[in-house]
């Protein structure tokens, strides 16, 4: 039932190896990686016992969650599966299991163990039996509705009670229909037939949950997919009043853990798709555009199409799409543009990596490009070798064990529940648009004759000004979050930025880049201050730029502006340190490329080089960016064309006129 997880080759051996690791944290890491395999009920119990023996209530990188499980059936067998599914997501879930059938008393008694446990989440696992019990088969529709309304009303007061305990989040399990037909197909027509009551009950439950902001653990839906026999075993019910069959426990646990993870923003964000034999059948490099299997008319072609439709749906709800394929980029992109059966367009794909590099490398590039963690990627690839390699080098990437038959791809991906949601907000809807804007830029780049062409076509304009109070939060966030384009990796607290901005001799610059596709926001920040021994020399204390706008000539225009501003203050030179880190190699040659020369230092600090720019000899760089100065004392939208910028606009127009862009 958890078929998207890879099979553990040697579970017992791996478990022993995990226990041989030196410290408890290492052991926990090993158990967590073991939890990413497909485990049956017994293996789950075994792994859970090992986890319990570590007696870790917390561990770095493993957030703890206290979950209370309140049930009207026996659920002793469910906590291990919940904990292991949590471990799969690096969550340490502590489960409080109420005494059998005692949840009402526990909720009402403030001295109960439930209250002492102080759950952050309360999960109600109730059977439909209580709801059906008093309703005779002969009940009228009105009587049934009344009984259901009463039952749901009671449920809502239970939710309120549970919420009163430290504002806990509530999850309600939908009602499993374990009834047998009484009339046959006619059950759905007779108001008092158990199947119909449960159907109505679930309906009313969903409405109440929506009103009360309660999340649903939808075992009813899961059992409709897997078959009721996979979820309910009448023998276990009779033997021990277990409504959830032990063999369903691992999936039950995963359904719970994915909701808990989603509440903490740990759901996956980006679906990365392979192309050949995944998004379409065949190999486009060999078979050509008209040789690939895709679209109506062939069963296999429709199977691949179904995956595209599903990906498109995910995109509409805010999941980012990316491509990672071993292919010639031009040929791969042509399929998106020119194949008539493609459902996904090039603009649906926010990051497109088609090349012959290692896929792990490309996945890292995708995460970096999209500015999201590698652990928020799901990678879908038909090739088991590629899957294994990615799992090995990037264990934080979710890689579903795709079945061999493309017809089953969508089911496998959907069942894994990587993108579990706990809300659907305006922001989600906009996300697709925001990333589409980036994709549009990519598409422009793809269609442009040259890089220069592309940049000109973007119609970029740059707003700049000193730090103002409204910018402080974003300035701090940008400086402290940026690792690549960060010259000194000096970090600042909020007050420090306010302090620097208030100093009259400090020169602060913030840059906001707009283009024809949209506003990229505040994307670069520079802080300059006079050096202690010569106030006519300004030192660039720090300069950061968001990786979203690399390669747009922004660094050139920003330096033009910095030089202008420094000249206005009567400065004659700029100095700057470049302090190398593991992550900022991308700007190793930044200062020399801007005309700075290295200052040899007698005893350089580790990894630091010092650079000097004589303002008298600075040659302004041409760019395709129109510059506007943002006025300090005016609202953000009020701008004035800066003298410097009108020069560069005029110059650019010259270039366009003589048809010879710089």
């Amino acid at each position: 039932m958890t078929s998207w997880l890879p099979i553990a080759v040697d579970f017992r051996g791996d478990l022993r190896a995990a226990l041989d690791r030196p410290g408890p944290t290492e052991r926990l890491e090993s158990l967590a990686s073991l939890a990413t395999y497909r485990l049956g009920f017994l293996e789950t119990v075994q792994l859970d016992r090992t986890l319990g023996n570590l007696t870790l209530k917390e561990a770095p990188g493993f957030p703890a969650i206290r979950l209370a499980l309140l049930a009207s059936s026996t659920v002793d067998h469910l906590p291990p599966a919940i904990r292991i599914a949590g471990l799969r997501r690096k969550l340490l879930i502590e489960v409080h299991r109420g005494a059998y059938g005692q949840y009402r008393q526990e909720l009402l008694d403030p001295r109960s163990s439930l209250h002492q446990f102080a759950p952050q989440v309360v999960l109600f696992s109730l059977t439909a039996r209580e709801a059906i019990a008093g309703v005779p088969l002969t009940a009228t529709a009105a009587e049934v509705d009344e009984a259901i309304a009463r039952f749901v009303g009671d449920l809502r007061s239970l939710w309120r009670k549970a919420r009163e305990i430290g504002n806990a989040a509530i999850i309600q399990q939908t009602f499993l229909d374990v009834s047998e037909p009484v009339f046959g197909g006619y059950d759905r027509i007779v108001p008092g037939a158990p199947a119909r009551i449960i159907m109505r009950l679930n309906d009313q439950l969903c409405e109440a949950a929506a009103r009360d902001d309660v999340l649903l653990l939808d075992v009813a839906r899961a059992s409709a997919r897997d078959g009721i026999d996979a979820w309910f075993d009448v023998g276990r019910w009779l033997q021990g009043k277990l409504e959830i069959a032990p063999q369903a426990a691992p999936l039950y646990g995963d359904l719970v853990a994915r909701i808990l993870a989603a509440q903490r923003g740990l759901s996956k964000k980006c679906l990365v798709l392979d192309l050949d034999n995944t998004l379409w059948g065949g190999v486009i490099g060999d078979d050509g555009l008209d040789g690939i299997v895709l679209g109506e008319g062939s069963a296999a072609g429709e199977a691949h199409l179904a995956l595209q439709h599903y990906a498109k749906q995910l995109k509409e709800r805010g999941v980012i799409l990316a491509v990672c394929s071993k292919n010639d980029a031009k040929i791969a992109e042509a399929a998106f543009r020119d194949h008539p059966e493609m459902v996904l367009g090039r603009s649906d794909i926010s990051a497109f990596q088609a090349n012959w590099d290692d896929k792990a490398h490309n996945l890292k590039a995708i995460a970096a490009r999209l500015n999201i963690g590698i652990d928020s990627l799901v990678f879908v690839d038909d090739n088991p070798v590629e899957r294994a390699r990615v799992r090995q080098s990037l264990p934080m990437v979710a890689v579903p064990e795709l079945p061999e038959d493309p017809a089953q791809y969508v089911r496998c991906l959907a069942e894994a529940g990587y993108f579990e949601a706990v809300a659907f907000t305006a922001e989600d809807r906009d996300r697709a648009q925001q990333y589409a804007a980036n994709a549009e830029r990519e598409a422009l780049l793809g269609s442009a004759e040259s890089m220069d062409d592309f940049l000109r076509g973007l119609n970029m304009s740059l707003l700049f000004g000193p730090f103002t109070e409204v910018d402080h939060a974003r300035v701090v966030q940008l400086i402290n979050k940026t690792n690549q384009f960060n010259t000194t990796t000096r970090r600042y607290a909020g007050e420090e930025i306010a302090h620097i901005a208030a100093q009259p001799d400090a020169l602060t610059l913030q840059f906001r880049l707009l283009d024809r596709v949209g506003d990229n926001g505040l994307v670069s920040v520079m802080i300059l201050r006079p050096t202690p021994d010569d106030e006519d020399v300004l030192e660039i204390e720090n300069w950061v730029m968001s990786c979203r706008v690399f390669g747009r000539q922004l660094e050139f225009e920003a330096m033009n502006i910095a030089v202008d501003a420094a000249r206005e203050r009567g400065a004659r030179a700029l100095v700057a340190d470049y302090i190398a880190t593991a992550k900022n190699d991308v700007i190793r040659t930044l200062y020399p490329s801007l005309g700075f020369t290295e200052v040899k230092q007698p005893s350089p600090a580790n990894g630091a080089t010092r650079w000097l720019l004589d303002l008298a000899s600075y040659v302004e760089r041409d760019t395709h960016i129109v510059v506007r100065e943002q006025q300090n004392d005016r609202p953000r939208d009020s701008v004035q064309i800066h003298p410097h910028s009108s020069r560069s606009v005029a110059r650019r127009l010259d270039h366009i006129d003589d048809g010879n862009p710089a």
Partner: protein, 54 residues
């Protein structure tokens, strides 16, 4: 084979269910509810399992 519930420290109904589930999964058999209720010791489970496998 003579081991009974009382012989195992901390044995409870949950352990018993796990044990039954383990045997059923391992040997792909399904015990009758009445049998599960009446197994006196490990030997009785072995006998019943062997009977079903025959």
């Amino acid at each position: 084979m003579e081991t009974q519930r009382e012989d195992v420290p901390n044995w409870d109904s949950f352990n018993y269910i796990n044990f039954i589930v383990a045997v059923e999964m391992e040997f792909a058999v399904k015990f009758k509810v009445a049998d599960i209720e009446s197994f006196a010791n490990v030997g009785a489970i072995v006998t019943e399992t062997t009977k079903m496998l025959a």
